[in-house]
Amino acid sequence: MAVVEAPPGAAGDDRPDPERPGTGTGAGGGPGGGGWAARGLAWAGLAFVVVVLPLLLPQFHAFRWSEAVILAIAALSLNVLIGHAGQISLGHQGFFGVGAFFAAYTVTVGGQSFWVALVSGALTGAVASLLMGVVALRIKGLYLALVTLAYGRLAQETLFNLPMFGRGAGVEAPRPDILQTNRAFYLFCLLMLGVVLYLDWRFTRSKAGRAVSAARENEQVASSYGIPVARYKLLAFVLSGVFVGLAGTLYAFWNQRVASQDLDFELALFLVIATVVGGVRSRIGVVVFTTLFHLIPDYLSDTFGTSAPFLSLAAGAFLLVAILVYAPGGVGQIIRPITRWMGGGPFARGDDEGFVEEGVRGRP
């Protein structure tokens, strides 16, 4: 393919950004100095709340927030399947647990370092997910949902109770010295979330993500574009498995122990709700909603002195219906004006029809 001169106005941009054209930015692209100052302030405020505040509050807050970040990574993993690939997993706690257990095992029994465990957790998550991907090539829709559901339960009941995993008593997962404090561990989780967000973003903007997306919408068209559909379905499962394996690994070291009772169906359900209400294919929406959906009930039960985990699931079911009716793009769609504005665009809805139509394409 010959390198040609860029057509005027079409390829001047640094990277493909389907949102920029046609938004009516008005003043020839980019806000003025005052606009940038306000945006800078907003970014600084966000950075303060996310990075600095947990370091100022008592350690226990950082501990709690770490879990929220870990769950956000797991929800992003599910977003790869539900959002990008159009597949479903109701057994995501299984992959999460596979990562967690193997990572803990690598350190406690294998005597390896935390960093090796991080890689082994992500890889075993990927392998487990790849196996499910092979199943998904044969089974679709509701039946796949049932298979994944059964897989998650089976993993919890049998795999995680194997002798090598402590027969139900669980496996210890001591943190390395450098991440010993909850604050340090929180920052590390944030870093990992950043890495996952970056990889997911690059995925959607490159060959592999486009292939997965096309295969989701229309397999026949995808294959006549020269895309090996089965291969890219598997790739989506592998990527999802890497993310959730990583989340599981972080979870094991966050808790410093992993046991099968922590990995029940409730976790899978939480992740499905978090992904769909957060907004399929909307990274920022998924992260924002997952963290809030996890933290708000915790802080509420602190205040009111009650602890009712089922309440958050009931609220989740309600939110699910509300989202389906009013904002198919989820939280990602609702906060779209804010994310656009912070990215240098106008404070406007912009191209929303993408959410309403069959092809939901929330792209923060």
């Binding site: 393919m1 390198v3 040609v4 860029a6 057509p7 079409a10 390829a11 640094d14 990277r15 493909p16 389907p18 054209p21 046609g22 970056y198 990889l199 690059r202 995925f203 903007r205 490159s206 060959k207 592999a208 993500g209 486009r210 292939a211 997306s213 096309a214 919408e217 229309n218 026949q220 068209v221 995808a222 294959s223 006549s224 574009y225 020269g226 895309i227 090996p228 559909v229 790739l235 990527l239 191209d351 029809e353 993408g354 139509e357 069959e358 092809g359 939901v360 394409r361």
Partner: protein, 296 residues
């Protein structure tokens, strides 16, 4: 060497013989038409050629290579571009995203470096976008680049689909009813576009088409299918006037004087002699004696 050589292809679906012993050859630079009434097996033949169906008998050769057992995406990557009767596009994506996706097989980086995002990837992505834009300009769709496909009119979608197939860099362009949903003027413009594509890009084209003026104008050679069999082939004017083709399209009512072709000699008027009502079809003619017999 023929670009495409379909050699005695047959396919059955249960008890239905959808294609029997069909052979089609398309030479380089040719525009070949594939016509025939509904249900004749035209799209089935397309599906056999592109790999969506595996024929029970016969071989498909493309650019001299036997591709009968090659999967769809590999045939597409080796230069078989096709459109679909029901517009084949990723409808949730924008026009240009479709054209970038369609260049999949030409992307010079691997999946992993795409996900990690190496500098080479950024450069290639820009090239893909530029090339997509070039193709859109070639078919006068550049101003729709960032429009979502789902919101476009049907005829426009058809054009976008053709642009997307061009983005796969095909050797042969296989079009399934490209003029459907278009008025006569748009169909004429489509003819101009096809001739221009052949001239400028050196494309070979095989198309299923019902619009007779378009077929006659652009095609070098026409194949006519009926009930899964090759009825006839030849230059468009000959095929159009071939008595069996006329019968296949119009049934025996052709004698009622259609402008398409001179009426073939038939013995139909003799059979109609007894009845008084004019629009007697073959079915009704057969039934009437039966009723008469019952009455008597």
């Amino acid at each position: 060497m023929a670009v495409l050589d379909v050699d005695s292809v047959s396919i059955r679906f249960g008890g239905l013989q959808a294609l029997s012993d069909v052979s089609v050859r398309v030479q380089e630079w040719e525009i070949v038409g594939l016509i025939g009434p509904n249900g004749a097996g035209k799209t089935t033949l397309f599906n056999c050629i592109t790999g969506f169906y595996r024929p029970n008998e016969g071989r498909v050769r493309f650019l001299g290579r036997d591709v009968t057992d090659v999967p769809i995406h590999e045939r597409a990557a080796s230069g078989m571009g096709r459109t679909f009767q029901q517009v084949g596009l990723v409808k949730g994506a924008t026009v240009i995203e479709n054209l970038i996706t369609a260049q999949h097989a030409k992307v010079a980086y691997d999946d992993l470096s795409g996900i990690v995002g190496t500098p080479a990837v950024w450069r290639h992505e820009r090239e893909l976008r530029d090339r997509a834009m070039q193709i859109l300009e070639l078919v006068d769709l550049a101003d729709l680049a960032d429009r979502r496909v789902a919101g476009l009119p049907y005829g426009t979608m058809k054009n976008v689909e053709m642009a997307a197939v061009l983005a796969t860099d095909p050797e042969i362009l296989m079009l399934d009813e490209p003029s459907s949903g278009m008025g006569p003027e748009e169909a004429h413009e489509l003819g101009d576009t096809l001739l221009r594509l052949r001239r400028e890009l050196g494309l070979t084209i095989l198309m299923i088409e019902h619009h007779v003026p378009l077929v006659v104008r652009v095609c070098d050679h026409v194949y006519c299918l009926n009930f899964g069999q090759l009825l006839t082939e030849g230059p468009p004017e000959d095929v159009r006037n071939h008595p069996e083709v006329v019968t296949a399209y119009l049934g025996e009512e052709a004698e009622e004087g259609d402008a398409l072709a001179p009426a073939p000699p038939t013995s139909a008027p003799a059979a109609e002699g007894g009845g008084g009502d004019a629009p007697a079809g073959p079915g009704r003619r057969r039934r009437r004696p039966l009723r008469a017999g019952e009455a008597g």
